[in-house]
Amino acid sequence: MSHAAIHDQHDDHHGAPKNFFQRWCMSTNHKDIGTLYLIFALTMFFIGGSFAMVIRAELFKPGLQLVQPYFFNEMTTMHALVMIFGAIMPAFVGLGNWMIPLMVGAPDMALPRMNNLSFWILPFAFALLLSTLFMPGGGPAGGWTMYPPLSLQSDSLAYVVFAIHLMGISSIMGAINIIATILNMRAPGMDLLKMPVFVWSWLITAFLLIAVMPVLAGAVTMLLTDKYFGTNFFNPGGGGDPVLYQHIFWFFGHPEVYIMILPAFGIISEVIPTFARKPIFGYKAMVFAIASIAFLSFIVWAHHMFAVGLPLGADIFFMYATMLIAVPTGVKVFNWVATMWGGSMTFETPMLFAVAFVILFTIGGFSGLMLALVPADFQYQDTYFVVAHFHYVLVTGALFAIISATYYWLPKWSGRMYSEFWGKMHFWNSVIWVNVLFFPQHFLGLAGMPRRIPDYNVAFANFNMISSIGGFLFGASQLIFLGVLIHGVFFSKKKATERVWEGAKGLEWTIPSPAPHHTFDVPPVIHDEELAHGNVNA
């Protein structure tokens, strides 16, 4: 009896319950909750994507074409909020939910009911947020950063603030759960410095989430009281300062940026060793690099505000601190390349996305370095150069990593192999069109085209048209993804093996495919050579 998991209900021993509500709304199962998160994220990805299509359609030609300027601003604001809080973050939490217990040999998450609550808050929070689009007065249109005084003019502010409170509660509980799982539920012998890099990246990300989501909650609460209760935090007439909001917001916002990329680093650090058939190069350096990036993320926030009129000393401090981040990030890129060096590489779809990640994320990193330079940023601030930069790190960075992870682990989840041909079709279409979409935006930004504007000078017409064509085709390419997923989950005839990939190592590949409803009821015995990254202490 010792070391066996105890489940309160007898049917738990045999698999998932048949009743729909019981299985999905009352779940305490990390795999089911992970699936819910992933489906939710995919849905939000297409909703947020459709907003982006509106934006690119309006910008296809100069002049007001399709939508009113206010609606255009609603679209840019909602596109960001939905993609950040609805697609990227829940996708990572879903992957964490599915894979962390399997990777550390735990039977489930540490706090399974709270896990279910973390998920179920999200659909309601987004119902609250998206409902504003259908209300008189419309949704938020002041940008996702909600800078006062502009954001205070919208009647939707209360809905947005409360939706953000709900998302924050969800994220904090999700993060607490992940930390407790990693620190308390590992199988005996799975030492901290033997864990897969993905698990490490989530441990550090969860810390960031708990540290900064409450700060965002505080910032938007001040917005709420400024608008509805007569406080003066952001009103200079009363001794406040709108720039104060930007400081508090970006104290959250910059770690948030790393919340959206560190788990991606973890994923890439799993995929590349598998398909290069070599353990990761410099395991400990990878872990310490993630930790240093997380630490630095707390002292760089004002690089989002160089042009706002900070004292010169502050500009210079934040410039150097920001450039320092290039060091640990460089370590990571170097180690990924070094992992591939001399490996017996094959290029299945997950690996293709991972390799594209390394190249394209690095482009986003370099444009970030350019933006970190105060004198250069005075020119680039609020132009399409910034848009190009963060879409390179978020789309070809975070999103490509999520897609790579989906192809990588999908056979483990569903027990069926997806279609490699259509996976590659998805990859090549995505990687070509995403560059057609975002690369010209660098040029637009350097030429001075401002972001968040529905109309523009005719001088910018050609590049905008190219960018829009890329946008439509990149959007359409994601329908291939949807098709591959539906086929790979329900219809594919090709069964997946336990190990799935020839070079795959780690605990998650020792259980059957599809993963049974309950795994590791009895803690696995850890053999160092079979760990994801080999015997890292050898």
């Binding site: 609250l128 409360f162 407790a180 540290a211 007569g230 009363g238 406040g240």
Partner: protein, 295 residues
């Protein structure tokens, strides 16, 4: 069954998390609607909010009841206990960061935005051309913005009620610790006395805080509208007061659970979690006393 101490425990399915998500949504949706109702309008937002709040209370009651039953049934082994402890610790850390946002705002306003508006440093031109009648003093009557923002006001003296409240909270920290030691020694009567005293001290604190607010509004003309002084004063002390209120309710619940004999010498996470929370609230108050009232 004693072997179970080494075993994993995965709790049974429960509808409470889903109910929690629904009632939280109801509350937030109602509140947002209520805030947007035009003055005098009989908006349905308030009703929805009330329904939501009742739902939240019912949800807490039901969820905790099921958890307490499982705990009494002996389902929670050492590993579950550790997960709970980590959960509470990190929750308190998130609360620290929440207060950090408001303390950060206070420091920024006092160190930067008020002096800059008064013409210090690189705020010379801002002061001269935009806010030339702005007197950059902190807390003095009318010094925190043009008089139309709430009018002249006086500040609450640190050495009256706030000092008393400081002593009350500090003593309550001592009494809750005595109760904890009594729990570990197994003296139920002593626990009930000292835990009860802690609850009373908490209630007394909230009561004095309410008096202070009434005095501030009616006699000192210190309101939410009193420039940033009023904003920071009421939001910091208000959120703290809310936490003390919640903490007092939690302590009262624990008192009843002690009465019913729910805790044993070495298995009383519920007690400890509330005690940690209470100490956290106490430490935040010390920060408030120093930075909001004294300095």
């Amino acid at each position: 069954m004693s072997q179970q101490h080494d075993a994993y425990f995965v709790p049974a399915r429960s509808y409470w998390p889903f109910v929690a998500a629904v009632v939280m949504f109801t509350t937030m949706f109602g509140a947002a609607h209520w805030l947007n109702a035009s003055p005098g309008e009989a908006g349905f937002g308030k009703t929805v909010w009330l329904v939501g709040m009742v739902g939240v209370l019912a949800m807490f009651f039901g969820w905790f009841r099921s958890v307490i039953r499982e705990s009494l049934a002996g389902n929670y082994n050492h590993q579950v206990d550790t997960s709970f402890r980590m959960g509470m610790m990190w929750f308190i850390f998130s609360e620290v960061m929440f207060f950090g946002a408001f303390f950060g705002a206070l420091f920024y306003i006092r160190m930067f935005s008020v002096p800059w508006l008064g013409g210090e440093g690189h705020g010379v031109l801002t002061h001269q051309f935009l806010w030339s009648d702005y007197a950059a003093s902190w807390g003095a009557s009318g010094g925190n913005g043009p008089e139309r923002l709430g009018g002249p006001f006086q500040t609450v003296s640190a050495w009256g009620l706030p000092l008393l409240n400081t002593l009350i909270l500090l003593s309550s920290s001592v009494t809750v610790t005595i109760a904890h030691h009594a729990l570990r020694a197994g003296h139920r009567g002593k626990i009930l006395w000292f835990l009860g005293l802690t609850v009373l001290l908490g209630a007394l604190f909230v009561n004095f805080q309410a008096h202070e607010y009434i005095e501030a509004y009616h006699e000192l003309n210190l309101t939410l509208h009193s420039g940033v002084y009023g904003s920071t004063f009421f939001l910091l002390t208000g959120f703290h007061g809310l936490h003390v209120t919640l903490g007092t309710i939690m302590l009262a619940v624990i008192w009843f659970r002690v009465l019913k004999g729910h805790f044993s010498k070495d298995h009383h996470f519920g007690f400890e979690a509330v005690a940690w929370y209470w100490h956290f609230v106490d430490v935040v108050w010390l920060g408030l006393f120093l930075f909001v009232y004294i300095l």
